[in-house]
């Protein structure tokens, strides 16, 4: 069942088209990720869903409620965690929670069971000022506040930005548990490597959705074949690869070159020997499973006039 429906939503700021006919839906009880770089339009979309901005065109329904007309109902069932830490630095952990509880007409006690999993690691620090918390703890406090009115729907705008890898991992585990409790979650992130934590994702860039699906589907849909070349002096080889008519794009990736062909040669190893003029065994070439970032690059390329030979 569709819990969130985003239907052809557009929004401009002066000459900038922040969102261009964005459509997707999130099922009830799903952990859904909106993945895209800085400036893709993620925050604008979240603010519209949270009923804080109006769309220029299109319609959004949360559990059947229209975010423009029925914004009161939408706000009652939605917990929104904005991208910037927006709690009160000069209030303690507990004071922040009580404040949000009061705003939503509930109490910390009534919601204790609901926020327990997220709040319990913070409990020893409940008398500490929010401004004095570490990044990971701030993030947990912000999530606790977003959960204080026991929402059915969570809207988390880049909750893991600026947080270290271990805290990020813990945070994703909490989201999974909330999802298992039945909460529907829409979360955004600029980190491609976090896509794998979601049930389904939508990739967004320059205000347009590139693709929607499960992480496995997106990787599966990667139309090209990716290869890794290893060996010494790869940088010198890179120029030759980029000049070759068979090569769609090639780029350095640490001590490897990642390469996509227009058409895969019959025997890639032999092809590489000829191209490099180096004896057998100088370089190795092997197929490589694409990651989310590779898919994103491929999809961006379809949407932009990017010169994949010289610039990528």
């Amino acid at each position: 069942m569709e819990f969130l429906e985003v239907i052809r939503v557009s929004r401009s700021f002066g000459p900038v088209n922040a969102l261009k006919e964005v459509s997707f839906s999130v099922n009830r009880g799903e952990l859904f990720g909106l993945i895209g770089p800085d400036g893709a339009g993620k925050t604008t979309l979240f603010r519209i869903i949270a009923s804080l901005f109006l769309p220029d065109e299109g319609k959004i329904l949360v559990k059947g409620y229209n975010v423009v007309k029925d914004y009161k109902q939408v706000r009652r069932i939605t917990g929104y965690m904005p991208g910037r830490f927006s709690l009160y630095h000069d209030l303690t952990v507990e004071e922040n929670l009580s404040f949000y509880a009061t705003v939503f007409g509930t109490t910390l006690k009534d919601s204790a069971a609901y926020i327990h999993r997220v709040y319990s690691p913070l409990k020893p620090f409940r008398k500490r000022l929010a401004g004095k918390l570490s990044g990971g703890m701030k993030q947990k406090l912000a999530l606790s506040c977003a959960l204080i009115h026991r929402p059915e729907f969570l809207l988390l705008d880049e909750p893991t930005t600026g947080v270290d890898a271990v805290s990020r991992k813990e945070f994703w585990e909490m989201l999974e548990e909330l999802r298992n409790m039945g909460v529907t979650i829409l979360v955004s992130t600029p980190y491609m490597d976090e896509a794998g934590q979601c049930d389904r994702v939508a990739l967004i860039d320059h205000g347009k959705l590139l693709q929607t699906g499960s992480p496995a589907e997106i990787v599966h849909n990667f139309s090209a074949k990716l290869y890794a070349i290893r060996g010494r002096n790869l940088y010198a080889l890179l120029g030759r690869l980029r000049m070759s008519p068979e090569v769609k794009y090639a780029f350095m990736f640490g001590r490897e070159i990642h390469l996509v062909f227009y058409r895969v040669p019959g025997r890639p190893a032999r092809w590489l020997e000829n191209l490099s003029g180096s004896p057998q065994g100088t370089f190795s070439i092997e197929p490589l499973d694409p990651g989310m970032e590779d898919c994103f690059v491929e999809l961006m390329g379809e949407n932009h006039p990017v010169d994949g030979k010289e610039n990528i």
Binding site: G36, P190, D193, Y235, F253, G254, G291, E293, G301
Partner: protein, 246 residues
Amino acid sequence: MAAHTPPVINVKEMTKSFGSFVAVDRLTFQVEKGEIFGFLGANGAGKTTAVRVLCGLSSPTSGQITVAGYDVWTQTEQVKRSIGYMSQRFSLYEDITVYENIRLFGGIYGLSRRQIRERAGELLSRLGLEHQRDALIASLPLGWRQKLAFSIAIIHRPGIVFLDEPTGGVDPITRRQFWDLIYETAQTGITVFVTTHYMDEAEYCDRLCVMDEGRIVAMDTPYRLKQLYGAQDMNEVFIKIARKEI
């Protein structure tokens, strides 16, 4: 990466304590000329403290440390002159022009007016930004800004450039273009020292050093670390290290 040249960074038993707290505990590592070296760790692992020592901004408690051939104990000023620095969060002044930024940073790095003029010309033509010479930084797309910031960070031709989370959050095409420039720079012999806690950025480094609780807990190429930990990506490696699942 010729084996004969001495390491650009040579750290033996570096320790830095604040009172009874040991932030960096007997670090030993070398970084070679032209290498792209990634320095990773969670918040509080001791990364920043170690980097501040390497940049000559803070004295170690003990250890033998040379950067670009200079001793961080006795030749702090020479160390500072031999390095460049760029961070994604702050790089260029947005409300002045491209050329004004070059002139400002060139002056800070101690270049003469003539050197600034010459190198500004080379830099702009190499980046294809000649026509944007008098444009405000604020008017440039993010990708161009980053490339410019990086080029300015090496305008005094340092032996080593420190990059602090250079591409966290940017789109992957811009990131790859930016890293093209980094690889090109490393080819000219400038060592690139990247600190980050974003594992997707770490994948681009030649070699990685992972810190935890003030110590080095792993150091190798991304490829070998993934093999060693039986992991799909660096994120998984990092989590396994942090949870001590070795």
